[in-house]
Symmetry: C2
Subunit: 358 residues, 2 copies
């Protein structure tokens, strides 16, 4: 199997130390060691994100917890703000769970603006506003702080999908009722764990919600955690080992420094793209700190570029779905460094120059 | 952290080779390598269990797929057959998902008999009969083949929870509409992956079921698999590496030999218990091949025994819930060998003899 260095918006490169942590023998999930491990993980996450909100780590992809969020907080009505494939998926998930879901849609490459939400929302109508923070398919970063304010003013809870931003971008999780994320993006971990950071108001709301289910039920999860800092079901122990090691690394770097590193990498990619004559796909002012979507204005073959990059031990992402070949995506998240990014861009330049693109 | 050898009914001992496989770099989940990896895994599982049924590997605990099974196959009515904590949980999961669930309950240590199901079932009334195959909390193995026959005769689909038996016990998965299992028991893998083995009839039924949700939706999973042998969401890649290696090992041993090894270990534990004056908790004729629940008729302190065993690098399980101290459980599943079991029992004997128990 080829295992190129990943510059894709998840999974991302995982440090050796973190991958090796997974190789340790598995411990029982009903032991004191598990209580210490999982209790410590929750505390570290709260410290990293400077919050007293409830933190739940669940064995699933981020999508699972996006579904769980809707099931936990919505009896009937939810308003979705979406601007790409993953925002749309969340909307479809609500429908698949029998909720009355309305959609505020911003076109591909555009952001969901606060006034779009303000226009659609009706005081007391929606139980939840669910918005993408960082749209992985387009590289758009939505102004969710302002949207959260509007939601709260209209008696709705607010949840954001920060799957591809939390741990890289700077997010004040205390402004939201649920922040959903997962392990394989800016956390630089293998996939398999998802996070829910849940407010007191959200936990209060769950009490009046019927049919929350079991596996993603926040009440069941919290009850077991408060008993002895364990899970109601068997968690992915090996992935928790990795998370624990990685959280120490992230705390050591510090969230502010981590954010600044991500901003620096973003700037390097954006400047490179402009300089080479590519356009940036995401609307100005709303560009992601963790992934840049480059518009293929030079008409290169993205597939050929990526095949050549893989030969050189690196992989970027083609555009998502219908955006394939029309765009390509360079992720600059997790443990990647400005040097990694400069190295990648140098290779891309060499390949495209050889093809006479510029 | 203490990492004793596990003789508990999950998680179980994971071979070094399998744990080390997880330390490999993570690959993208939308690559050809993933298609090969996951496609290969599904084929190996079908080969191991001698089936053409659909096989889905999902990132979650077994509980997640138990919930998914009910959501996929039940619009309204389900009959549960339960004889312990996990059977009861499945029944509660159905209720938590708004289904009309009826329960056939066999007391702790007893099995769910075919005539109990036959008595309760009404032709055409239940869409699904959901029964525990191997009840981890009591060490009871239910006669699910006969129960499946009764369910089918009464126009119900049948699903079994084989979380703690599949891959150790011999199960003809073709007799069932859904077989649920998970990675950390007789498969001897780290926790985090769950399996659904699904019949054509079950897939047909999903078409008429509303509100199946998304993450555990068999239709969504199968659609993506049939497209390019990938997952609709990001799977736990590192755990798939481990599964792939372990499936090669399991195929090399062969399912029949694996089953016989489990039976041999079971007999060693049962004979040891009787010889020492302990009773067996599970009803005769319905005893699990993968975990033996010993009734603490000698009145030992199970906690003290286990603490001493942990010091010696081994761990067994106390009784489950209210059965704590009244019973203890010795798992003989996964990669454990008769020699491992004899070694454990020798240590237990030395500890109990020193305490003057016998």
């Amino acid at each position: 199997m080829e295992m190129p260095k990943l510059f894709i918006p998840g999974p991302t490169e995982v440090p050796d130390e973190v991958r090796l942590a997974m190789a340790q023998p598995v411990i029982g999930h009903r032991t004191k060691d598990m209580t210490e491990l999982y209790g410590g993980i929750v505390e570290k996450l709260q410290k990293l994100f400077n919050t007293n909100h409830y933190v739940m780590v669940i064995t699933s992809s981020g999508t699972g917890v996006m579904e769980g969020t809707v099931r936990n907080l919505v009896n009937r009505t939810v308003l979705h703000g979406a601007c790409g494939a993953f925002g749309k998926r969340w909307y479809q998930i609500s429908q698949a769970n029998g909720k009355e879901a309305d959609l505020v849609w911003a076109d591909w490459g555009k952001a969901v603006k606060p006034d779009m939400i303000a226009e659609k929302i009706v005081k007391g109508k929606y139980e939840l506003v669910a918005v993408t923070h960082n749209e992985t398919s387009t590289g758009v970063r939505n102004p969710t702080d302002e949207i959260a304010k509007i939601a709260h003013e209209n008696d709705a809870l607010v949840a954001i999908d920060a799957v591809s931003s939390l741990g890289g971008d700077m997010i004040d999780v205390n402004k939201y009722d649920v922040v959903v994320s997962s392990s394989q993006k800016a956390f630089a971990l293998p996939p398999g764990l998802a996070f829910a950071i849940v407010s007191e108001a959200a936990m209060e709301k769950t009490k009046s919600v019927e049919g929350r289910g079991y596996y993603f039920d926040f009440v069941t999860l919290l009850k077991r955690y408060e008993k002895n800092k364990q899970h109601p079901t068997t968690p992915a122990v090996s992935l928790l080992y990795a998370l624990d090691v990685q959280l120490d690394r992230m705390l050591k770097e510090g969230m502010q420094a981590r954010y600044e590193r991500h901003v620096k990498m973003m700037k390097i990619v954006q400047e490179w793209a402009k300089k080479r004559g590519f356009a940036l796909f995401a609307e100005e002012g709303y560009r992601s700190v963790t992934v840049t979507t480059v518009e293929n204005t030079l008409g290169i073959s993205v597939k050929e570029l990526n095949d050549e990059l893989v030969k050189r031990g690196m992989r970027i992402s083609n555009g998502y779905g219908d955006l394939k070949e029309k765009t390509f995506r360079i992720a600059h998240m997790g443990e990647l460094t400005p040097a990694d990014i400069r190295g990648l861009l140098g290779e891309i330049d060499e390949i495209l120059e050889a093809k006479g693109v510029y």
